[in-house]
Amino acid sequence: MWQHFLLLMLIGAASQQAAAGPVENTCLRCHQQLDDSAQSPAKLSRQDIHFQKGLSCQSCHGGDPTLGIETGDQADSMSPRKGFVGRPARKQIAALCARCHSNPDFMRKYNPQARVDQYSEYLTSVHGKRNQAGDANVATCVDCHGTHGILAVSNPTSPVYATNVASTCGRCHADARRMAPYQIPTNQMEEYLKSVHGETLVKNRDLSAPTCNDCHGNHGATPPGVDSVANVCGQCHASQWDLFAQSPHKAAFAAQGLPACVTCHENHLILRTSDSMLGTEEPAKCPLCHDTGSAGYAAARQMKAGILELHEKLGAAQDVLDRAARAGMEVSGPIYRLAEGRDRLVRARVEVHRFNPAALQKIVAEGDSIAAASEQSGWKALADLAYRRKGMAVSAVILLFMIGLLLLKIRQLNRAS
């Protein structure tokens, strides 16, 4: 009961503070004069999103920072009678944050689109469950967002900004000593940073690539189960997931307890895919399950051959068209059409996830025909070029002959005059 009362008091204090704006604050005044870590709340608060929105120390810690200014007695402002709670216990932190962040009426004032389900999600997460069970070692709000000096998620320097999430998670999950009691691997961050996702997001700063929370959830962070892996990947790779769901692999993987996408692509170390993953030779994935001579083995070989053939034909057509273009021939039309051929190659590579050689071959055949037509246009342009040059040579000879005749005539006239 007293907890509800305290909660109401703190929400009331937060609202009043937000409405009134910054006032004389004994917390900041004293903490500025303290040493080292005790000074950091006062220093960091200047950049804190909550401070910027008009909230202050008492919004989380309770008490009344307007008291004690005249008397100089910190006990006045930090009086439990004024609701001072001091440093909240780790188990209490999520609930403390949730007072505002789970209150739609309160959050709407600052951001009408703000989520208010973080706390309830947190309670379903591995972090939340262990935290509530009294494990002080697991992450709670402040471990990811910071304590004082909390930045908006959209701030690129925030620890929870997309490009920083992996290193934020890695602070704990790459710490072997910290993870030892839980007996879970600690190489996820290292692997993620080597992955195509990590390279795209962290190195190339491309925010469309996923980071830890995009697959695991953020407040409700939990490892996806074997059954849900494909759903996770399918959020972005929808076509591949759709095709996989229609493939014979879906049931086979489920029967053997193999996680869908992860079986071939790994989980954290998801490398850039290539045609070499398909087929029957190293480093192809297919022979890991399909023995030599099996139908699956033959299908893998057939699909790989189709894709390689299309790739080569497109490359050959491109070479011929490039040669014609470099010679100044107008081949932008065939080059544009060749892009459609490359589109077929991309589609064929996606189609692989259906694991149906006949369906794949249909797309490959379309691409082959586009490549052949484009290559033919390129050869035609080169033949035209040769014809033009021959024509030019013949014309030049005729013209030079005429010039010679004129010069002879001029000479004749000169002599006559």
Partner: protein, 355 residues
Amino acid sequence: MAWISKWGDWLEERLGWRAVQELIEHKDVPQHRYSIWYYFGGMTLFLFAVQVCTGIMLLLYYRPSAETAFESVQFIMTEVQFGWLIRSIHSWSANLMIAAAFVHMFSAMFLRSFRRPRELTWVSGAVLLFLSLAFGFSGYLLPWNKLAFFATKVGTDIAGVVPVVGSFMVRFLRGGDEVTGATLTRFFGFHVAILPAVTTVILGAHLYLVQKHGMSTPPSVDAARTPRMKFVPDFLLRDLVGWLAAITLLAVLAAIFPWELGEKADAFAPAPAGIKPEWYFVFMFQTLKYIPSRILGIDGEILGILFFGILGLLLLITPFVSPSERPAGRRGLLPVVGILVIVYIAILSAMAYRT
């Protein structure tokens, strides 16, 4: 051959064509060490004729709208029999014509051919040079490719800097606030109707004045003691040699370096790197790039445009600001200014192409 004479008499009675025949028979050209420069007038005229012929042929297939212009030029270059040749010759010949016009202008300047009574011959020639540049600027946009689109955008932006009338000029040239299909249609109108009509009149006047006053003899040459060459056939045959050489050069250029079409213009695409106007505008473009943003509190770009405006005006009125007669052995300021202008154009253009 009596019937020829009979027909000749018939025509003479109606057209008076024997006056032309007489003019041709009596027309002659002074022969001296600078005579070579006389051929550049004829060369410019010949290349203009090539432009007219190839331009008319291109008109048969060209469609002047943002949706169809690029595709129609593409069609001309790939599907129309010898379309590639006509288009390449039109583009190369345009450049050679402007080069020949510049040589003709500078040679007339250095040989002081504008002296009394040829002032108006010079003025009409200078106007023809400006018209050639306008032909080049308006024709550059017509294939509606990316490079031409952005170069026209930059070019017309520059016109907007002119005080008072700048914004009107931009809207007039573009047919709106931006370079759009309306600009293309407008430039097409300039290129195939307005400019040819004006050019025909001015060119007619220029040729008439050249016939009326004959070829000018440079002041350093004693006109009385200079031998003269008959225009027909002697000079005309030499002209023909030059024209055939020009055709040969055009054929070689068209076959070995076909004029590129590039990518279709896209107003939403980023401007390609290294946008440059045609070579004959590059020195002005480069000057505007180097000029400080403000000079003595005045916008640098305005001063740049003012500078080129004054330069153009001075070119136009050269005969009236440069004394007609000079004491023997005195060359005056004009050759120095002319050389400085050539050096300036060459250096600025080289700098633009190096970057």
